[in-house]
């Protein structure tokens, strides 16, 4: 027996932490285990007994990169439980807020976490020394997204203006109009970025996936729609748990999500893009074709390109919403507590984020269930790794380790929503 172990202290450039074990025996991949040491489902437990009105402010703290996603899924689920409908103006404001988060979250990943892989750098610092203009563009794009969140959410980290029923205060029209020029610049910067990304050298890697995303009859999905898949799933969000289940795998404390009787599935920008190409704006569709993605994107390494397209979509949508903005007459419907169960799914930057709440007639949360997109992608990440390692057994351990890390980074896993730390071990026997 000849055993070789490669250990990496941490998986670089991934939000949060995790551990990866790959076992190779006689030239065959025996097992791939992405070990996520998830803290006990702290927030689900923490919410029990709290008043439902506290939920948006609490769940925002699950993630420092995507707080809006958690807030949006929570308010939609709670409004579903309470039988509350918001106005069109509130709906539009929420969509504009989500545009801000998509921009800042995608840009952070593209420029700081993913781009170094394709330019041959260990990290963004080294990349910034040689490409300061690239990093500076990323910084300004992130600031544009943050500005939208701050204008509507009250502050850019853990927005404070979101409530069940709407917002505490609607932004003045002048405040949003002031952001229009910034969003015009951001749109053009996104186009530049997509064209830059389309010239990068991507590893060849495609395989069959079942993509799952939301779908809306009129718009690229963010807050609303049905759940659909590339294998024919088409369900209302409240049927999520009839079709998806979380299972415990021995090697991970993060639960794995599967489609009942079908297995592994894929969420996130690539799934959204492939299932919603008819909802692209003309500019996004043109750039998608220019980038060779007009028939879809099935190479997860090219998710960088897809994120660029979604940044462009978010910028265009933000401009449209700013131009059409009318402050709501009432920025919130006052919620009346009642016993009930509510469901919601929104498209976090990393994929569908499902929430379910059971509320008592006192307004206290009796049960909270939160299924983050990164949890849902654990299994497909492992499958990618198994396939990738199998195709690259001839590589020495160090480049193989780097390729595995890069493969995980394709999914922009926000493991801070689900886990704690990472090591990489490759055992060759």
């Amino acid at each position: 027996m000849n055993t070789k172990t490669i250990k990496v202290d941490y998986l670089a450039r991934v939000e949060g932490e995790g551990a990866l074990h790959v076992a190779i025996d006689a030239g065959k991949v025996e097992s791939v285990r992405l070990e996520i040491f998830e803290p006990p489902r702290f927030f689900e437990a923490f919410l029990r007994g709290r008043q439902f009105v506290e939920t948006p402010d609490i769940v925002a703290r699950i993630c420092g990169i995507c707080p809006v996603a958690y807030q949006m899924s929570s308010v939609h689920a709670l409004e579903n439980a309470l039988g509350l409908e918001v106005s069109e103006q509130v709906r539009a404001l929420r969509r504009l807020l989500y545009c801000g988060e998509w921009i800042e979250s995608h840009v952070l990943h593209m420029f700081m976490l993913h781009a170094p892989d394709f330019l041959g750098y260990e990290g963004s610092i080294e990349m910034a020394r040689d490409h300061p203009e690239l990093v500076a563009r990323g910084l300004e794009l992130k600031k544009a997204g943050n500005a939208l969140i701050r204008a509507i959410g009250g502050r850019e980290i853990h927005p404070v203006n979101i409530r069940v029923g709407g917002f505490y205060k609607a932004p003045e029209t002048s405040v949003l109009r002031e952001l229009r020029d910034k969003m015009l610049w951001a749109r053009d910067a996104a186009i530049t970025t997509i064209r830059w990304a389309s010239q990068l050298d991507y590893p060849e890697f495609e395989r069959q996936y079942e993509y799952v995303a939301m779908s809306h009859p009129h718009e690229y999905p963010m807050n609303e729609g049905r759940l659909v898949s590339s294998a024919g799933l088409d369900i209302a969000v409240d049927a999520y748990e009839e079709h998806f289940e979380e299972i415990h795998v021995p090697h991970s404390t993060a639960l794995h999500s599967t489609l009942r009787q079908r297995g592994v599935y894929f969420v996130g920008p690539m799934a959204r893009f492939n299932l919603n190409t008819s909802r692209l704006t003309p500019i996004a569709a043109e750039l998608s074709a220019e980038s060779g993605l007009d028939r879809g994107c099935h190479n997860p390494f090219k998710s960088l390109l897809v994120r660029g397209l979604e940044v462009l979509l978010a910028c265009e949508e933000a401009i449209r919403l700013i131009d059409a903005y009318e402050p709501p007459v009432d920025c919130a419907e006052d919620p009346t507590p009642r016993a009930g169960t509510g469901f919601a799914c929104t498209e976090a930057p990393r994929g569908i984020l499902f929430h379910r709440y059971e509320i008592a007639d006192t307004g206290q949360i009796r049960l909270a269930k939160i299924v983050p997109p990164t949890s849902q992608n654990q299994a497909v990440i492992e499958q990618d790794l198994r396939e990738l390692v199998g195709r690259n057994l001839a590589l020495a351990d160090e480049p193989l380790r780097h390729l595995c890390e890069q493969s995980i980074r394709n999914y922009d896993p926000c493991i801070s929503c689900a886990t704690h730390f990472l090591d990489l071990h490759v055992d060759r026997r």
């Binding site: 939000e15 420092g64 840009v107 700081m112 910084l139 853990h158």
Partner: protein, 160 residues
């Protein structure tokens, strides 16, 4: 004022705790911006650029004496590379400093307070040593602000 870390991970919330104390003292509508839990280098840079003074407060990974306070003044000290490797940051403070220097996006003055954590598990509330350290950090930060003629708000009581 930038508080890194997560107030739902016990001592990782020391920065947020100090910001809470500052909020009770700082006047409304002043020239001081408070940022909590900025989890990435770009966000840190976006927060502190154009600032005359940026003060960053974060927890340091457990391993040394809990509650120990290390203060770094960027004008004279090197910010340790692993200083902010405590919580779930992708690219943290040290990277923000290096990127900020490369891009010319640094505040005029940067001071960092790192408080040695005892526990960074899930939950709220600071450990005893870190809670005590928080009061000391608050005093030092208030002292750092004295060059900017910041008077406490009229209804300021004792900081919590």
């Amino acid at each position: 004022m930038l508080a890194l870390g997560n107030r739902f991970r016990r001592d990782d919330g020391i920065g947020a705790h100090v910001l809470d104390m500052l909020r009770t003292q700082l006047p409304d509508g002043g020239t001081i911006d408070l940022f909590e839990r900025i989890d990435d280098a770009l966000g840190i840079i976006a927060s502190w650029e154009n600032a005359a003074l940026a003060v960053v407060i974060d927890a340091a990974r457990p391993g040394r004496e809990a509650g120990r306070i290390d203060r770094f003044d960027h004008q004279i000290d090197l910010i340790p590379h692993d200083l902010a490797a405590c919580s779930s940051h992708g690219l943290g403070l040290a990277e923000a400093v290096r990127l900020g220097e490369l891009l010319g996006r640094m505040p005029e003055r940067l001071i960092v307070y790192a408080v040695q954590a005892q526990s960074i598990g899930n939950g709220t509330g600071l450990s005893g040593p870190v809670l005590l350290a928080g009061r000391e950090v608050f005093s030092r930060v208030w002292n750092d602000l004295q060059g900017f003629n910041i008077a406490p708000r009229e209804d300021a009581g004792r900081a919590v």
